[in-house]
Structures are given as C-alpha cells and as structure tokens.
C-alpha cells in the first residue's frame, strides 16, 4: 500500500467516524431562489448590453444577414491585422483584408503575436453580463481567447438568458471546459482602485446578432442608438 492510499483511508475513515456521530435530519434543500427571468426579451437584451458596457466591453448589434459585414467593420475600425480564428469558425466570418491564423495547431508564440481573436460563444447571462464559452470548435481552445489582447465575440440574441440558473437549464450535459467572462481582466489589489487589463485580453468586443423575431433588431436599435 502506498502512503497516499493509506492517507486516503485515514481521511475517509475520519470523515465516516465524524458523520456517524451526526444524527441531524437531512437539510431542507428546496431552492426558493429565482430561476426564471422576469423581463421581456427586448428588456433582457437591453440589460445584457448595459451590463457589458458597464465593464467597458464594446457592443455592436446587427441582424442575422449583417454578421459578415459587421465583423468586417468592427475589425477594420480596430486597426488590427493578424487575427486568430478557431477551426470551427464559419468560413464566411473570416472576412477578406486581414491575415487569418486558423488554429489547427498554432504555437503560443503564434497566438501571442497575433493582434486579435474572433470566436463564437455558448451563452450570455444578462443579469451579470457574462459571456460563456464552452470551447467548442467555433469558440476555440482556451488559450485562443487568453493571449491576444483583443477579443471579438459573436453572441446571438437567442443565446442570451436573463438569469444564471437559466444558463444551467441550457446545459444538457455539464461542460468539460467552460470559461465565464464578466468583463475584461481587472484588478483592485492596489488600494481598491479598479485597473482594467492585467493579464487577460484588455479589449472585449461583443457582436450581438438579433436572430430572434421578437427582438425586432431594426426598431430595437432605433431606440437604443439615436
């Protein structure tokens, strides 16, 4: 028996002895907290945008037919040229006019020296302005959204939920990998002064695609951006 195996037995034995002394009834585990959102869809998407902007993420909205032209415009305005793409990113999203590095097996150095990365996403949580990545082939392995300083994330309105429990409803299987992004990297370690951009990407851009009939992207945008 290895020392580690015996420690396992010792620890589990101690826990079982302690638990045997416990005759408390099983705790009430009924969850009374809010699971379903209360907002109408346009208000929910408004909240998502408001939260993203609160932590300085840049949000651009478009209809489903304008994804490619919107990506091109955002990239052009960014002034960035060498752009990393996960292997599963739709080919049309790799708009011409830029140097695309498709991640078949890019080295850290390839990724580190790129100007930007463009990815899809798994979900958005409006309540906290959180972007969820499950690192599918269109979202890319974790390092892709970590080393480049500038990240454009494509989020569909139909992926946005209001509350965190509603995101868990959408996970039919628990993910093996997940990253929850709620604002660009930040620290408040020096006198509680919030500083943006420590190690992760300093610039987060979100392209919100209004792919739901109810959200009426054109009318909706009129109200939001005069």
């Amino acid at each position: 028996m290895t020392p580690a195996a015996s420690s396992r037995d010792i620890i589990l034995g101690r826990i079982r002895n302690a638990a045997a002394a416990d005759s408390a009834p099983a705790p009430d585990h009924s969850a009374a907290y809010i699971r379903r959102g209360q907002l109408h869809r346009p208000a929910c998407l408004d909240l998502m945008i408001e939260r993203l902007r609160e932590y300085n993420a840049d949000v651009v909205e478009c209809g489903p037919a304008e994804i490619v032209s919107s990506i091109e415009e955002v990239l052009r305005l960014s002034g960035r040229h060498t752009i990393v793409a996960p292997p599963g990113l739709p080919g049309a999203w790799r708009v011409p006019g830029f140097t695309w590095r498709i991640d078949d097996s890019l080295t850290y150095s390839d990724i580190e020296t790129s100007d930007a990365v463009v990815t899809a996403s798994f979900a958005g949580v409006a309540d906290s302005g959180t972007i969820v990545l499950h690192h599918s082939s269109a979202e890319g392995r974790r390092v892709l959204t970590l080393l480049p300083d500038w990240h454009l994330c494509i989020l569909r309105a139909s992926q946005v939920v209001e509350t965190l429990p509603e995101y868990f409803d959408r996970c039919l299987q628990p993910p093996a990998l997940a990253t929850y992004i709620s604002g660009p990297s930040a620290t408040a370690d020096i006198e509680m002064t919030r500083i943006k951009g420590v190690h992760g990407p300093r610039f987060l851009h979100v392209l919100l695609v209004h792919d739901e009939d109810s959200s009426q992207p054109q009318d909706y945008r009129k109200g939001d951006h005069p």
């Binding site: 396992r8 620890i11 079982r16 429990p165 990998l177 006198e191 992760g200």
Partner: protein, 491 residues
C-alpha cells in the same frame, strides 16, 4: 524598508496571542488607514449589489443547504469526485496533513524536473507553508496574483483572504517594485504599477512549465474543478503550463455542476462586490490539445475532518472564503489580518484557525470578537460565527479547567468562589453586602468605579464599572408599601 513595521508571524503554533499581536498594529496608523479604506470600499460595493438581489436570503439558504448536504456525505462526494476526475485523466492525491501535501507536490514537480513554478493565489498553499518548502527544494515559486506578487517581493504576509495585500498602499507598492524589479522609473499610479506587474509576469507565463492553483469548487458529479478570479493570471496558469497541481481542502467539493448556479451568484457579490468576477474557469481532468496534459489534485485534510464531528463547529467547513466577514468585522477593521497569527484572519479565522490546530494553539482567537454578529449577517453560507465562537470559548475553558496547576490560578479560584456564591440566595445576599462595603472606597460620587486594583483592573483598564447600589432590587421589593388589590379587578 518593508511595508510592515511590526514582525508578522502567521504560524499559529508560534504566533503571540491576539491581544499581544494586535498592540503594535494598533499603533501603526498607516496600516490601519489602509485597512479601513480597503474594507470600506469593498463593503460599500457589496452592500449595493446584495441590495439589488431580491432573492439574496433564498440564495444564502440554498448555499448553506448544499454545503450541509455535502458535509453530511463528504466521504461519498470526495470518492465520487476522485472517480470522475481520474476517469477524465486527472490524478487525485490525498494528504492527511500539511507535510504530506508538501511532499506530494514536491514529488510531482521533481518528476517534471521543474526549477520554477507559477502560482495562482491560494490560501491553502499559505496554510501548508508551501513556498518555503519549494525554495528549500530548489524550486522557485512565482506568485502571479498582483497582491501575492506584492507580498512575495516585499517579504510580507497575507492579511486578507481575498485581497491579501490590502494593508499595503500604492507608495509602498512603488517602493517594493523599484527595489525588487529594478523599476525605479515607476510612479505610484496603480495603473502604471499594474502594467509593470503585467510585463514582469508575461514571460513567466509563457516559459514556466508547471503551475500550482487552489480550487474554489470541486464538482463531484463530473470531476471538474473551478477557479474564480479577476486578473487572468489564473487562466494563464490553468491553460499554458504542461503540468498543473490543484491543492484543495476536502471541504471544497460540491455535489453537482448545477450547484454552481448558487455559489457563482453569491461568491463574487460577497467577495469583491461584483455581480460576477471577471473570469471563472472550469475544467475536467485533461482535455487533449487544450491546457495542461499532466493534471493533479491534492485533497488536503490537515485538521478539517475532526471539525465534522462537532455539530456546532461543523458549519465552519461551509466557508467559501469570500472574506465578507473580515470586511465587516469591527475587530478586523482595526487590526487587519496579521494580528490573528494565521493566514486565515478575521471572524472566520477566529473559528477556523484554532480548530485546524486541534485546539492546541491559537486559543486566544475565539475571544478576538465582540460577538456583534455582523459576520453572521453577511456570510453567504450562513455560518453562525458567534455561535461557534462561544462554543470554542467553552472548549478553551474546559482545557484550562483540566490543568493540574489550576488551584494556583487567581482567575480560576475567583471563578470557583463566584460559582459557590451564585449557587445560594443567602450567600449571594451576604456577598452583595460585603461587596458594597469592599467597593465603597473605589466608588465615586456618581456611582461609578473607574479603577480597581489587582484582577479587577482587567475590567477597569478598558471600561467603567457601576458601583453596587445601596439598596438591591430584592430589598426594595420586600420593603415596598403593599397596595390592596381592588375587588373589581378580579376576574
């Protein structure tokens, strides 16, 4: 010059008692100003974000219930986590104490021929005093959390669970970076200081092949591990190196992936006053082509399992290390964390540290509280800290009572005498009369006693005492004029 003017000992086995450790800190006005400012800022942010959550109390109850369920079946959930993490390609180790945890980690790093290791902030690593052990083995540990880096370069110790360098201000950080990074060009602007840390650490992230992390949650159902953070240094350490070691207390396991929907809602709000921390990472064993391919989890007991056996104390293990109790505590806010002589300071440290020490050390900590219960009110997992403090005080008294030299202890003898007096009404009346006579020379005209000699001075050095009144309530009651009851009042 160090950021500290007092010597800091965070080993409960050798640290001075709380009152002695607190005294020099209370004279350090700069440190007290830094701590007050930081805790004020976090508290205000937390209060605002908790107020907007209409189901906050329900979330607290759910979080406490999930942890209770976990602790009631901890053996089952740990074994389930081990099986699922192993099936996903991870290696799970069990460490009964700090020495064994250090040894396991050193073995893994030696097998990798590591000479350097990057670290995410982990209180558990400080608890087992890992860094000195790594240095002694010729492995240089690089702290990558900004606050931890400030402490490491400043030869200082953590004073807070979430913001371990909150006792250090910007000009002190500037001085440390100038001295240890050679960056004499820096101003004391936090933005410039943060940028200096970014460039200092960037090459470490890309070149060091092994990392050590803690864990916020271990998911039994899937074998996944979760880390929440703000800076992105965590994601760097979890993603870039070849080898990753996660050191986690056995109480960090939760039953299901779905349970995160509760904890992720309460943790950041309580810890930093954010709706969600900027980055949370979840990974499961090893994923081919993504992240470390050599992944280890070290499950640490180190005094935790005996806590399970005591029904009142068990709730201590619900703690998710948010530090809300520290920020709100009127004692911590005066002394900061170093006075507690442990990496776990504040109210949670006052109950956790003596228990991790099996009540053999840190017995002064259960008294480092006014029992005002502000900590209980903010705790996201509803740990009734005052209740545990009182029970631990009783344990400390029981220990003292069993000492053989107690007959010579003035306090013990005084308490025995008081016990006899309170047990009999006649003795109590007599004692009142004698007490009034004995205290009369010390009682001022206003009825207050401002100074007492000997043992009594322990009370009067910090507060006044009411003199014993000339007439007791019982005497007044017995002597009062009798009022005849009117017949109409009878029913």
């Amino acid at each position: 010059m160090s950021a500290e003017h007092h010597s800091v000992v965070l080993d409960p086995r050798i640290a001075p008692p709380f009152p002695a450790a607190a005294l020099p800190i209370l004279r350090n006005s700069q440190l007290r100003k830094n701590v007050a400012h930081a805790t004020d800022v976090i508290q205000a942010k937390r209060a605002r974000l908790v107020a907007e959550k209409t189901d906050w109390q329900e979330l607290r109850s759910a979080a406490a219930a999930i942890k209770n369920e976990t602790l009631a079946h901890l053996d089952h959930y740990l074994a389930e986590f081990e099986a699922n993490c192993t099936a996903a390609g991870g290696h799970v180790h069990w460490a009964a104490d700090a020495a064994e945890a250090r040894q396991i980690i050193l073995q893994i790093l030696r097998a990798e021929n590591a000479t350097e290791v990057i670290k995410i902030k982990t209180m558990t690593s400080a608890e087992i005093e890992l860094n000195p052990a790594l240095e002694a083995a010729g492995i240089h540990a690089v702290e990558t959390d900004l606050a931890e880096l400030i402490l490491q370069l400043g030869d200082d110790q953590p004073s807070h669970i979430v913001a371990p360098a909150l006792h250090v201000n910007r000009s002190q950080v500037r001085e440390i970076f100038a001295r240890r990074m050679g960056r004499t060009d820096l101003s004391d602007d936090p933005e410039a200081l943060t940028a200096a840390a970014r460039s200092y650490l960037r090459k470490k992230f890309l070149s060091v092949d092994a990392a050590i992390s803690g864990a916020n949650f271990l998911v039994a159902e899937t074998g996944a591990v979760t880390i929440v953070e703000s800076e992105g240094n965590g994601r760097m350490c979890l993603t870039l190196p070849r080898t990753l070691i996660a050191l986690a207390g056995i109480e960090k396991v939760i039953p299901r992936f779905r349970d995160l929907e509760v904890f992720l809602q309460v943790l950041a709000r309580s810890a930093t006053g954010e709706r969600m921390n900027p980055y949370s990472s979840l990974w499961t064993g090893v994923t081919p082509g993504d992240g470390p391919q050599n992944f280890h989890v070290v499950l640490l007991d180190n005094g935790r399992s005996p806590i399970l056996a005591r029904p009142v104390e068990r709730q201590t293990l619900r703690c998710i290390r948010c530090a809300a109790c520290q920020n709100t505590c009127p004692v911590y806010r005066q002394t900061g964390g170093h006075a507690y002589g442990s990496v776990y300071g504040g109210p949670i440290g006052a109950i956790l540290t003596p228990q991790l020490m099996r009540m053999e050390h840190a017995q002064s900590l259960p008294y480092a509280s006014s029992l005002c219960a502000a900590c209980y009110e903010v705790c996201p997992v509803k740990i009734n800290i005052p209740e545990v403090l009182i029970d631990l005080r009783a344990q400390v008294i029981d220990q003292e009572r069993s000492k053989t030299d107690r007959a010579f202890d003035l306090m013990y003898v005084a308490m025995r005498v008081a016990n006899g007096i309170f047990a009999s009404a006649a003795r109590f009346r007599l004692a009142q009369r004698l007490g009034r006579i004995a205290l009369w020379p010390f009682t001022r005209k206003d009825g207050w006693i401002h100074a007492l000699p000997s043992l009594g001075a322990r009370w009067t050095m910090t507060r006044d005492l009411r003199g014993i009144p000339r007439e007791s309530f019982r005497a007044w009651w017995a002597a009062r004029p009798k009022v005849e009851s009117r017949s109409g009042e009878k029913s």
